[in-house]
C-alpha cells in the first residue's frame, strides 16, 4: 500500500521535475502537482473502517446543512449531544478559577469587538446553522454543523452574513467582486467526510479577527501545508501533525483553551491511557520539562522560568503573511469625494485604512513581547468599569516571578483604540453588520451603532461614545521552529537582550552587576599599574645600582 503511495508520489514528482527542472515551471504548477499527489495520499492514507461514499444515507442531494446533519446523527446518535456541551457550540464559558463569565458571546475584544447583534456575520465561524439572533435554539441537534470540521474536500465554506450556512444558491463572492460561487455540493462533501485537519480547524482559527493571519500571529493559512522551517510538528512532508494531534478531543471537547491556558507544568510526560486529566495541548505533555539531552542539558535549567515557546518560537507570523498589529476604530467613517467609503493599501499591500473599521498596521516575523504568565487571564468585561486615562488591558495575563506557577511566555500584544461609554467608563457592544439601520459598517455612525448594540444586550448606555486605548495579549505557541532556528543564547544573554526588563530573572551576561564590574576592573587595573610601576622602578634602580 505504502509502496504504491510512494510510487504515486515519485511519479508525480518525476512528472513535475521533468516539466521544469531548470526553474521554468510555474509555482502554480508545482503546487498543483503537489496538491494532486497530496489528494491521492490523503485518500489512500485514510485508515477509517468506513467509506462514507458507500452509504446510501449520504447518496442524497442535500438541500441544506441541517439535512446533512440529520443524516450524520442517524448513525452517530450521540455526536450532536456531545457538541452541545462544548465551547465550540455555546460560545459561553465560566472560568471556574475566576468565576468570570467568558466565551465569544460575552467577551469584548479589540478586533471586531463584540458578537451580539452581529450574529449573522460572526457565526460564519460557529459550528452551527442559523444562529442569527439571540433566539437561537441551542438544543436543536440538526443545527450542529458536522461538516465544517469533518470536510476533506476543501470545498465547504461558511460565509459571513449567512448565519453559519454555506451558500445553497449561486452567490456573488466576495460581494461586488463580479465573481460567483456555485451552490455548495453537499452530497460530495458528505460522502467524503473524515478526520479534522489543519485546513478544517484553520477555516476559522487561521482567520480569526476577520481574515487570514489577522488575529493570533501564530496561526494563519501558511500552516495549512507548512514546510518544516515553519513548524516542526505540522511539517507537511515530515511529522505532518494535524491540530488534533495535540488538541485531542474527548467526546468532541477539544483540549486546550485560551480562557484557561496551561502556563506551567511540573509533571513529566503525559502517558497515554493515564487518568490524569491534564491538558494534552502543551509541549510538556509530550516532551516533559527536561527534553534537552547531552551537551544541551544546560537548556533544561531554563524550563522552570521560561516557557518552551520562548526559545522555540523565535518570531510569530513566520509564514510570510502579515498579521494585524494595531487597529484604531476612532478614525473610521471617512469618505471620498463621491461620499463613498474608501480602502487604502499600505506599502505592504495590506489595507491600512478602511472606512468601516479605521486604521490598521500589520507586520510579520515579529519578535514577541514577553510576560510572566501563570495561566490565569483576567478580563475586562462589559459590566466592568475602568480608568479611561490608562491603557485598558482587555485581558491581562496574571503571573509573577515568585508565585511558583508562572513562566515567561512569548505573547502577541495587540493594541487598539475602540468604542466605549465615555460617561460610564465601560466597554460597549457595537452593532457592526446585521441591522441595516444601525450597523456601523453601513451607516458609519458610532453612536447609533453602540446604542443599538447595548440595547440588544440589555445594557445601559449613556449616549456618549469615546475611544479607549486597549491592549490584548495572545500567547504565542504555534509555528515552532526546528531546533537550529531556536532563539540563540546570545539574544537574551546580553545587555538589552530579548528578556530585558522582565523582572525576577537572573540572566548571566546581561550586565547584572555593573557596580561590581566597574570596581573589580578598576582594582585589577590599579593592581596592574602598581606592579608595572614597581617593576619599572626596580629596573631603573637596578641599572643605576649595577
Amino acid at each position: 500500500m505504502s509502496f504504491i503511495n510512494k510510487t504515486g508520489w515519485s511519479m508525480a514528482m518525476l512528472f513535475a521535475v521533468s516539466l521544469g527542472f531548470s526553474g521554468l515551471m510555474q509555482t502554480t504548477e508545482v503546487q498543483a502537482a503537489a496538491d494532486a499527489a497530496d489528494d491521492a495520499t490523503a485518500k489512500a492514507k485514510s485508515k477509517s473502517t468506513a467509506d462514507h461514499s458507500k452509504f446510501k444515507e449520504l447518496d442524497v442531494n442535500f438541500k441544506s446543512g441541517p439535512e446533512v446533519t440529520k443524516a450524520c446523527i442517524g448513525c452517530h446518535t450521540e455526536a450532536a449531544k456531545q457538541l452541545h456541551t462544548t465551547k465550540h457550540w455555546k460560545w459561553d464559558y465560566i472560568n471556574p478559577d475566576t468565576n468570570q463569565h467568558l466565551g465569544k458571546n460575552n467577551v469584548i475584544n479589540n478586533f471586531c469587538t463584540s458578537v451580539p447583534s452581529n450574529y449573522k456575520f460572526c457565526t460564519a465561524c460557529h459550528i452551527g446553522y442559523g444562529w442569527e439572533d439571540d433566539k437561537f435554539d441551542f438544543t436543536a441537534e440538526e443545527k450542529v454543523d458536522c461538516v465544517v470540521c469533518h470536510d476533506t474536500t476543501g470545498k465547504y465554506k461558511k460565509l459571513p452574513g449567512l448565519a453559519g450556512h454555506p451558500n445553497y444558491e449561486t452567490i456573488e463572492w466576495p460581494p461586488h467582486s463580479g465573481k460567483f460561487r456555485p451552490p455548495t455540493d453537499l452530497k460530495t462533501i458528505a460522502q467524503n467526510v473524515g478526520k479534522t485537519s489543519r485546513a478544517t480547524c484553520g477555516a476559522c482559527h487561521f482567520r480569526g479577527g476577520g481574515g487570514d493571519a489577522v488575529k493570533h500571529g501564530d496561526l494563519d493559512t501558511s500552516l495549512t501545508n507548512p514546510k518544516k522551517h515553519l513548524d516542526v510538528h505540522m511539517d507537511a512532508e515530515g511529522l505532518n501533525f494535524s491540530c488534533s494531534k495535540c488538541h485531542t478531543a474527548d467526546a468532541h471537547e477539544v483540549a486546550g483553551s485560551r480562557y484557561q491556558p496551561t502556563a506551567k507544568e511540573d509533571k513529566g510526560r503525559l502517558i497515554p491511557g493515564s487518568l490524569d486529566e491534564r491538558n494534552t495541548a502543551t509541549c510538556v505533555a509530550c516532551h516533559d520539562n527536561a527534553p534537552h539531552k547531552g551537551s544541551l542539558s544546560k537548556m533544561n535549567e531554563h524550563t522552570d522560568k521560561l516557557a518552551c515557546q520562548v526559545c522555540h518560537i523565535p518570531a510569530y507570523a513566520r509564514g510570510n503573511q502579515f498579521t494585524k498589529m494595531t487597529w484604531d476604530w476612532s478614525t473610521g467613517g471617512k469618505v471620498d469625494e463621491q461620499g463613498q467609503p474608501i480602502k487604502i493599501k499600505g506599502s505592504d499591500g495590506k489595507v491600512k485604512y478602511d472606512s468601516k473599521k479605521g486604521d490598521f498596521t500589520h507586520d510579520r516575523y515579529v519578535v514577541p513581547e514577553y510576560q510572566w504568565f501563570n495561566g490565569e487571564v483576567k478580563w475586562t468585561l462589559v459590566d466592568d468599569t475602568f480608568d479611561p486615562d490608562q491603557i485598558l488591558k482587555i485581558n491581562s495575563f496574571t503571573g509573577s516571578a515568585d508565585d511558583g506557577k508562572s513562566r515567561v511566555w512569548p505573547t502577541k500584544v495587540f493594541r487598539g483604540k475602540q468604542m466605549y461609554d465615555k460617561v460610564n467608563n465601560k466597554l460597549v457592544v457595537t452593532s457592526l453588520s446585521d441591522d441595516p439601520d444601525s450597523a456601523l459598517w453601513k451607516n458609519f455612525d458610532h453612536k447609533k451603532a453602540v446604542e443599538y448594540g447595548m440595547k440588544y444586550v440589555g445594557k445601559e448606555f449613556s449616549g456618549e461614545v469615546g475611544f479607549i486605548e486597549t491592549e490584548m495579549s495572545w500567547p504565542i505557541t504555534h509555528m515552532v521552529a526546528p531546533k537550529d532556528d531556536a532563539v540563540d543564547c546570545h539574544q537574551c544573554h546580553k545587555e538589552n537582550g530579548r528578556l530585558a526588563g522582565i523582572d525576577g530573572l537572573y540572566i548571566p551576561g546581561a550586565n547584572n552587576t555593573p557596580l561590581m564590574d566597574k570596581l573589580g576592573l578598576a582594582i585589577a587595573f590599579l593592581t596592574l599599574i602598581g606592579v608595572l610601576f614597581h617593576g619599572a622602578l626596580r629596573y631603573i634602580m637596578h641599572k643605576r645600582g649595577g
Binding site: H493, K494, G509, T513, M516, G535, R538, H542
Partner: protein
C-alpha cells in the same frame, strides 16, 4: 654573588601549578565572557567551555588536596606573621637596591611569609567562594530536589561567584608579578618549571 640550587617543587606540584594556572586563566577568559564583559567564543560556547573547565579544575583539586594531605605539604600554607614586616620592607625598598632577600627558601619552607598569607587568602576565601558558588551554579536544576531552592537565588550565587572571580583576577596579576621578584627575575619561574630554585647562600 654565589648561588646555591635547591630542589623545591616536586613533579606533582609543578604539574598541579601549571595546569591549574592554565585552567584558571581559561576560566577567567570564559567566565567573564559569560558575565558579558566581552565576546570571544560566543555566549553558548563560553558557557560550555567554562563548565568543562570547571569539572576539570574540580578533579584537579581533588587530586591536589589528596596530595597535600598525604604528603603533609599542606603545612606550607600555615600562616605566620614572623618576618612579614621584613618582607613588606623588602618589596617596598630593598628590592630596588638589590638588598638581600630576607627570606630563605628551603625544601620545607617554600613560601615566604607574604606568599603564605596570599595563598591562604586564595585557599580560604577565593577558592571556597568560587567553588561553592560555582557548584551551586552548576546544579541549579537540583536546588528544588535538595530543598534549598527557597534559600538560594541565582542572582546571589552569581554575585559571589563573580566577586570571587574578580578577586582571582587581582590575585593573578599580583601573583605573576611577584613571580619575578625572586633571587633573580626568572629564578622563581624557572623553579616552578624545573623544580630547582637558585637561592643566595
Amino acid at each position: 654573588m654565589a648561588a646555591e640550587r635547591i630542589y623545591i617543587f616536586k613533579r606533582f606540584e609543578r604539574f598541579w601549578h601549571w595546569s591549574q594556572a592554565l585552567l584558571i586563566m581559561f576560566m577567567m577568559l570564559t567566565g567573564f565572557e559569560v558575565h558579558g564583559l566581552y565576546s570571544i567564543f560566543g555566549f553558548k560556547a563560553a558557557s560550555e567551555l567554562h563548565t568543562i573547565a570547571a569539572w576539570t579544575l574540580v578533579s584537579l583539586w581533588v587530586f591536589a588536596i589528596f596530595w597535600h594531605v598525604t604528603t603533609g605539604e599542606w603545612r606550607q600554607y600555615i600562616p605566620t606573621l614572623e618576618k612579614v614586616d621584613a618582607m613588606m620592607k623588602f618589596y617596598l625598598t630593598g628590592i630596588f637596591t638589590d638588598a638581600p632577600h630576607p627570606f630563605k627558601q628551603t625544601t620545607v619552607r617554600k613560601h615566604n611569609p607574604l606568599q603564605r598569607l596570599a595563598y591562604l587568602f586564595v585557599l580560604l576565601l577565593i577558592n571556597p567562594l568560587i567553588w561553592t558558588t560555582g557548584w551551586f551554579y552548576l546544579f541549579y536544576s537540583s536546588w528544588e530536589d535538595w530543598g534549598i531552592a527557597g534559600f538560594l537565588s541565582l542572582e546571589w550565587v552569581a554575585f559571589f561567584h563573580v566577586a570571587a572571580a574578580f578577586m582571582m583576577l587581582i590575585f593573578f596579576i599580583a601573583h605573576i608579578y611577584l613571580a619575578t621578584a625572586g633571587h633573580t627575575v626568572t629564578s622563581h619561574i624557572k623553579a616552578m618549571i624545573t623544580g630547582w630554585e637558585e637561592v643566595e647562600d
